[in-house]
């Protein structure tokens, strides 16, 4: 579970905390310090995903020190925010939070690489990690920025991990990686919408916690059912999880576009949780198969961070047009159709079996 927490702490705790902090307390880039908050968000897609194996190995050797310093930086960053307010004009705060974010992203990426390189995962540790994340989000009803402390504690626990040299999985992640990445992007955008709407009322944390708890429960339940059904020759039960996730989240989006007040309804967050659970099942089903397919986990992680960032920008610029958010589902639908067509074309191109 500690490894999963190290993976999830950046997108689910740090990013939610900072993106929400920026949107709730003012997206203010007038003081130069405001731009510093973007560095940790740009780091994974721009730098980490391009690192060579040698560079990753060197970083992995210092992973424990990095995680420990991240825990300390997180505590320093969060301390004035526990009972105080996000000070968007403070350069000192921007430097501390951004430095913490950089360490959080690096450790998250190292943990992700380690996780992705090992095939054969079960849902229990992911579900438990999601429950821990949900607990911090629930606490944010009273302490809006406590997700930063949560990320710091996950980094503290990462100091106890065994960091080993691993084979860097092949880039791309094999078939369906594009679709699952697009689905992850869409779910991140949908999940973060409520945080913007609630403004300075931080009870949004409870709603997102509902989504994560639903996702963890569904992932476990689906997995165990799938094990039984697979014996009865129903492999589509896990293979179709991603498509079902799009349909379920799409329902939540459509209802929100039709009745925008639905964004505050717990049922919406249960639906999004079910969709997130579907994504987890689809990922687990793939990572059981091969290590190279597990590389798709990395693109899913990156797409989630990107989804949060794009959604925050959309909220800041265009939230008066809530129906425009339906566009976030388009990449997932297009990727699904494209991959289905490609699979059909590949099947047709295969030589007929001798039988």
């Amino acid at each position: 579970m500690r490894l999963r927490l190290a993976v999830l702490q950046f997108p689910l705790l740090y990013c939610f905390g900072v993106l929400v902090g920026m949107s709730v307390y003012g997206v203010n880039f007038s003081p130069a310090g405001g731009w510093l908050y973007l560095i940790p968000l740009l780091l994974p897609p721009a730098v980490l995903s391009r690192l060579s194996r040698g560079a990753l190995d060197r970083m992995r050797r210092s992973a424990r020190i990095l995680a420990g310093s991240g825990a300390l930086l997180g505590a320093v960053a969060y301390r004035p925010l526990h009972l105080g307010f996000w000070d968007e004009r403070s350069l000192a705060q921007a430097v501390t939070v951004a430095a913490f974010g950089v360490v959080s992203a690096v450790v998250g990426w190292l943990a992700l690489t380690q996780l992705a390189a090992r095939p054969g995962h079960t849902p229990a540790p992911v579900a438990a990690a999601l429950a821990v994340v949900a607990a911090f989000l629930a606490l944010s009803s009273w302490y809006p920025m406590i997700t930063l402390l949560g990320a710091a504690l996950c980094l503290a626990s990462a100091t106890a991990l065994r960091w080993e040299p691993v084979e860097v999985p092949a880039r791309g992640g094999g078939p369906r990686a594009v679709f699952l990445g697009a689905l992850s992007f869409y779910l991140a955008a949908e999940l973060s919408q409520v945080a913007w709407d609630m403004g300075s009322d931080s009870s949004w944390g409870t709603l997102i916690a509902i989504s994560f708890l639903t996702a963890s429960a569904l992932a476990v339940a689906w997995w165990f059912m799938a094990e039984r059904l697979a014996a009865a020759s129903h492999p589509w039960f896990t293979a179709g999880a991603g498509a079902v996730a799009v349909a379920v989240a799409g329902t939540a989006s459509a209802v929100t576009a039709w009745r925008p007040a639905f964004v505050l309804h717990p049922a919406r967050h249960v639906l999004l949780g079910l969709a997130l659970g579907g994504l987890i099942v689809a990922l687990l089903a793939r990572t059981t198969v091969t290590a190279s397919a597990a590389a798709g986990v990395q693109s899913v992680w990156l797409a989630f961070v990107l989804g949060l960032a794009v959604s925050a920008v959309y909220s800041a610029q265009c939230e008066a047009y809530p129906r425009g958010r339906l566009a976030f589902v388009a990449p997932a639908v297009l990727a699904f159709v494209w991959e289905r067509r490609r699979a059909v074309a590949l099947r047709r191109a295969e030589p007929p079996s001798p039988a």
Binding site: G84, A156, S315
Partner: protein, 372 residues
Amino acid sequence: MNPTGRALLAGALGAAAVGWVVLPDGAAVESPSFGAPVILEPGGELPVTIRVAIPGVTTLDAAALEHDGVKIPLTRVEPAGRGPRQTARFRIPADCRPGNYDLVVRAGAGQRTARRAVAVLREIPERFTVAQISDLHFGASAEGEASVARIVAELNRLAPAAVLVTGDIAQDGKPQEYERAQRALARLSMPVVCIPGNHDRRGWGAYLTSFGGPTGSVRLGSWTFLRLDSAHGRDQFTESQVRDIAQALDEAEPHRVIVLLHIPLVGTRSVKAHAHSVMELFRRKGVPLVLSGHWHYRAGYGEDPGGRGEPGAGATTYVVTATAGGPPVPGPTGHSDLRGFTLIAVDRGKVTAIEPRTVEGGGDAAAAGSTR
């Protein structure tokens, strides 16, 4: 190091981080605050809400009023819970002198003060006048700040029951701008109710630290001043705000609500999302008066623009007040209003007069008479 040793070290690191983070601060006073004081008579019950650093450990132990170094301890009527957010009720002594008081709260080992958070009136009047000032823009110009000082002096002379400040208190949201604004407003002898404006979003943390939460209700007897934050996001209401407005209107006495809202609901520079549904809500709930600023010139809109028909006739009156300290801006007619404020008279459950006033004399003084 073996796995057990590593786990112990990680646990110690986490525990040290949590302890260092949460131990120093005892509590923060959430309500009442400088911008949302509790207005009550001697002998009344004062609700106090705090957020504690460590739930279950720190509790709201005691509260007192303080004015000019004199402390008046309050008797606790209802104890606080032990959760992260705790509310307790205290009794104001029956012999408490009228005035504006700082609230001093003791929680655990710490003590917190909320400036001018409690206003004690000899009696809550059924017939009263309130004044609205808007767009103070501290930090924009020395001339503007001098204008606010003149308005403060004039309001002290007129002695309305309360002063309603409808946003844009600071120009750039710097802490020193809020300090100066707070010092100027603290010279008012009556309670002050504040909301933020779009300029206050430039220094949101500093605004919240000085004036408290942006939304909520302040009661003056049977009347409610409903404080709204129109500057969230891109000058718009969100779904949660619309829900909260409906809930606050349900809790308020019908037809006895004055809404404070920085950005007007109609026009080119107005609230973008949900404006019409909020106006419909005001109409349905019988809100008699909505006060705004933002435009820096006097205006009115809605069914009864600026109260020119008959205030209290049933329709909602929407009033936009000229700036108090910012630069005057020409209105649609091309003419700039002088800096000033608006007086609102209330008598037996009805808004009976709305009167714009200027402090700089001359200009359009003829137009500044009663609009009734």
